[in-house]
Symmetry: C2
């Protein structure tokens, strides 16, 4: 893919969407931001408060989340409230769910055993 017919807006790290989502989730601060946004949209200041770090850092985190499609940004006077968009998480759930049959190790062994039973070649 990436037929290169277009100007390729995202250059380096945004390879595929799933990777971007996983990478965005691989940070506790960003997951906490997402958790907070489940209670409703919030401006940067309100998001920065509980994290003991500069607002600029939160801005960066929000940009990562936005690039991953996990949040959308609004405009309300001089505030730019962030709003949760959990649709990418549906694909995350689907991905993880694809491994459901392997969650139980003994079940995986059983599966392997059955495969050998039916096709002993």
């Amino acid at each position: 893919m990436t037929a290169a017919t277009g100007p390729d807006t995202q250059d380096a790290p945004g390879r595929d969407p799933l990777s971007a989502v996983f990478a965005a989730l691989a940070d506790p601060t960003r997951r906490a931001i997402l958790a907070r946004l489940t209670e409703g949209e919030a401006p940067v200041g309100a998001l920065a408060a509980p994290f003991a770090m500069s607002g600029a850092a939160i801005s960066k985190h929000l940009r990562v989340l936005e690039r991953a499609g996990l949040i959308t940004r609004g405009r309300e006077a001089q505030w730019r409230p962030a709003r949760l968009d959990a649709t990418p998480l549906r694909e995350v759930a689907a991905y993880a769910d694809g491994f459901r049959r392997f969650w139980d190790e003994s079940f995986a062994r059983l599966d392997d055993y059955l495969a050998r039973m039916e096709d002993p070649s």
Copy 2:
């Protein structure tokens, strides 16, 4: 930080387990390795074959996956087969599933609307 009360086996990147799992999944090569391991355990060489990169790179990827608890390594003569352990993915699925009510944006708006209806304070 890192209260240093214990010997802290993992230093830098292994902060919390969930972050380690998400970080491990945030790479298409590693996800492809996991996909391949669903067909059964495989030695490093077999895993390296389809990826056009050095075996050392695969070794590193496997170490990341192992640290995330997504694979276990065995010993069979001079081979060190990797075996899928999908139990961490159960937590990933649980995490994503926690956002199920927000997957549909309009449903989230409706939920917000209902909350305001029932508790107008």
